[in-house]
């Protein structure tokens, strides 16, 4: 359906470039806009102002600094594992972005088990974090790694269950289909807004966002990092570009999860199809949506990751046992209830 037919190699190249941009651009924007600026404003200061206008080049300065630093590994570390760990974390991010649809034709892959794939791939980062914590030969890192493993696995579950509600309602596990469904459905016959699942699946959305917060190890769920207790936990021993990779992965994953949340709950790249008279069944979406879609997605992602960061800057952190209790005793039962409710309503209507 693309306007021009590209040879396979060009498509591959485009995909790789697009994937890199889709990971790095949100990461950079989130770091600059939220970590540097919003956080500073919330703390009555201006943040970086020297590098570039309003400090906009600060990130490049930081990356340059990190690249110059020596790549250290502790003496007792399991060096091969230690060096691999950050890459594993970053790989998970890249794999995640592969299923995110940015427009009617602007996607990297489009397959039917998209939701399933996304949930499976997102837990690869747990492995990387555990590897980093274990191989660092540092007690703080070990504690951080173990905390991370426990936490990420605990919060995987409410995330899966929250997404399940969406899957039931949409009747598909294809992310592209979910987007189309949200934009072409109607709320009680009124299709002016489509049917973004944030309205019908609000509980699911809330649980998903809480789980995302935990998966990203952002405050109030940042015990694996916990700089005031564990001195950055599993990242303690890393320096130079390996630390940079962790850093990128943290914020890139925040961006990708925001993208996924906007796909699942906010209608993704689409605008309500009724506005332009598109037909979901035949897929007669105008081609310009391939350009507008990514912009819409990025906007939605910014809002969501802004909220993630806002919460991060405002809250203190939980204790490990409180966090586990919260996951198992509150989030999972609530999300199970949500699934039941969705299923009943789905059958009823």
């Amino acid at each position: 359906m693309l306007a021009v037919d590209l040879p396979y190699w060009a498509q591959s190249l485009l995909r790789v470039l697009g994937g890199t941009v889709a990971v790095l651009l949100p990461a950079g924007t989130i770091v600059y806009l939220f970590l540097f600026k919003m956080m500073s404003f919330m703390q009555s200061r201006l943040g970086p102002m020297e590098a570039g206008p309003y400090g906009s080049m600060q990130l490049f300065a930081e990356v340059g600094k990190w690249l110059q630093k020596e790549d250290l590994a502790p003496d007792g570390a399991d060096k091969r594992i230690y060096r691999m760990a950050p890459l594993v974390v970053l790989v998970s991010t890249f794999l995640l972005v592969a299923v995110v649809p940015f427009g009617p034709d602007a996607y990297f892959t489009n397959f039917d088990a998209g939701v399933f794939y996304m949930l499976a791939v997102s837990s690869i980062s747990t492995l990387g974090i555990l590897m980093a914590g274990w191989s660092s030969a540092n007690k703080y890192s070990l504690l951080g790694g173990l905390r991370a493993a426990g936490q990420l696995i605990a919060y995987e579950l409410p995330m899966v269950l929250a997404v399940l509600g969406v899957v039931i309602q949409a009747g598909t596990m294809n992310l592209q289909q979910i987007v189309v469904k949200q934009n072409s459905d109607s709320i009680f016959g009124w299709d002016g807004l489509g049917n973004p699942y944030i309205l019908t699946q609000f509980i699911g959305f809330a649980i998903f966002m809480i789980a995302v917060q935990a998966e990203l190890t952002q405050t109030p769920f940042d015990m694996p990092i916990a700089e005031s207790e564990l001195v950055s936990g599993y990242m303690t021993e890393y320096s130079g570009f390996r630390f940079l990779i962790f850093f990128i992965a943290e914020f890139a994953t925040a961006g990708v999860f925001s993208l996924i949340a906007s796909v699942l709950f906010l209608g993704g790249w689409g605008v309500p199809f009724s506005w332009f008279g598109w037909d979901a069944a035949t897929g007669s979406v105008d081609n310009w949506m391939n350009v507008a879609g990514p912009i819409i997605m990025i906007t939605k992602m910014m809002v969501l990751s802004g909220i993630i960061m806002w919460v991060r800057f405002s809250y203190p952190r939980f204790r490990e046992d409180q966090l586990q209790r919260f996951a198992w005793k509150v989030l999972i039962p609530v999300s199970l209830l949500n699934i039941m409710l969705t299923a009943i309503l789905k059958v009823a209507f």
């Binding site: 956080m39 919330m42 703390q43 009555s44 200061r45 007690k139 703080y140 504690l143 405050t219 109030p220 940042d222 015990m223 916990a226 700089e227 005031s228 207790e229 564990l230 001195v231 800057f313 405002s314 809250y315 203190p316 952190r317 939980f318 204790r319 490990e320 046992d321 409180q322």
Partner: protein, 390 residues
């Protein structure tokens, strides 16, 4: 409130007991963790050696002395005015408050008393240093618990107080403004009006902290029922200040002794809390900061006019004798036991600093808690390294 705290305490204890049982069954090996000397939670160089079973502390021992400056020895080679410049470095966040008990002890030995205006200004500056100190505590508390924003707000509003202290004394951190017999100088013009403005900002800051931290459910669940110190234990270990009052002991040296300071001229209240847990300690400090702003406001309104210096000889020789004066400093009871032999300088000064006692309870209170609680309990006990090591 108490039933909530009780419930949390009980579930916490039950969880700990369950963990302990499991660990005995599994015969897990312990791990020794050095928290510090360079660690963000020790704001300074305190080292805490903890023996861990999983994340649970089996045994903990603070190891101080990384910053020992030997002030008690240094005072012996200095004259009385020189000692004043030295002692305000003990608790560097509330430095003016460190000078006052020493000066009062010397005045007691010389049997002179500062004129009323000097007493008023002393009291005001004393309370300002309390606000500067405890205000930073409130922000730092957030950092220890993982909230990054409060500390910047604390620094922002503490800056106003430091500016006031600097405006009056010339020193932001180390005023060295107190003299035997009075003060170095009177207040500069416009200071009173500015102080009133700042006190309003500080009350606003307290409200902000209440909203941002103390009302936060996560914050409460982290602190309530954690690190409970019963009153008897607190007294045995000589805990003082907010730590003691949080255990329900109604004891405040500003009220409970007669010193030539202006505390008995104002209407204020000593806050106590029955729980004795970390939350109580932090909560008391918040209330006291607000109370301090009110004290300062009242004192500014009633400031008498007159001289600020009593008649003292040009070269100060303190008569032979011994004197003990302690005051309610930001961290707790800070006292000097001054022995003079009629010389230019003191013969021996025993510095009783609050943090030394407050931290000596750490091995007792840290047993059986989790690693994150180590940090929150330490933060709530509130110590300044210079005040431990002197």
């Amino acid at each position: 409130m108490t039933d909530l705290a009780d419930r949390q305490k009980l579930s916490y204890i039950a969880a700990q007991a369950a963990d302990a049982r499991l660990n005995v069954e599994l015969e897990t090996e312990g791990m020794t963790l050095n928290i510090g000397p360079q660690h963000p939670a020790t704001h300074g160089t305190l080292r805490i050696i903890v023996r861990l079973d999983g994340e649970q502390v089996v045994w903990a021992e603070p190891s101080a002395g990384y910053m020992h400056r030997g002030y008690e020895k240094l005072t012996e080679v200095r004259t009385f005015p020189q000692v004043t410049a030295l002692v305000n470095r003990i608790d560097w966040l509330g430095s003016f408050a460190n000078e006052v008990p020493f000066i009062l002890a010397a005045e007691k030995l010389m049997e002179i008393e500062a004129p009323p205006r000097a007493q008023w200004i002393r009291t005001i500056l004393f309370e300002l240093s309390r606000i500067a100190n405890v205000g930073l505590f409130l922000g730092d508390l957030g950092v220890q618990l993982g909230a990054v924003t409060p500390v910047f707000m604390a620094f922002r509003d503490r800056e106003h107080v430091l500016n006031l202290i600097e405006g009056a004394t010339g020193g932001r951190f180390h005023p060295n403004f107190d003299r035997i017999g009075g003060l170095k100088d009177d207040l500069p013009a416009g200071w009173i009006a500015e102080t009133k403005q700042v006190m309003k900002k500080l009350r606003n800051f307290c409200t902000e902290m209440e909203d941002l931290l103390f009302g936060n459910e996560i914050f409460q669940s982290r602190l309530r029922g954690i690190g409970v110190i019963p009153a008897e234990v607190a007294k045995q270990y000589g805990l003082s200040g907010a730590n003691l009052r949080a255990s329900g002991v109604d004891w405040d040296l500003r009220r409970d002794q007669s010193l030539p300071l202006a505390y008995d001229k104002v209407d204020w209240k000593v806050w106590t809390h029955p729980d004795g847990d970390s939350f109580a300690r932090c909560w008391i400090r918040l209330q006291e900061t607000r109370e301090s702003t009110l004290i300062v406001d009242q004192l500014l309104d009633t400031m008498p006019s007159g001289p600020i210096m009593a008649k003292v000889p040009r070269i100060i020789k303190v008569p032979e004798g011994e004197a003990w004066v302690s005051t309610e400093n930001p961290l707790g009871e800070m006292g000097y036991y001054v022995v003079s032999k009629g010389d230019l300088g003191p013969f021996r000064v025993k510095i009783r600093s609050a943090s030394f006692n407050n931290i000596s309870i750490v091995p007792w209170v840290l047993r059986g808690v989790y690693v994150p609680d180590v940090i929150s309990i330490l933060a709530s006990l509130y110590f300044i390294l210079g005040d431990i090591d002197r």
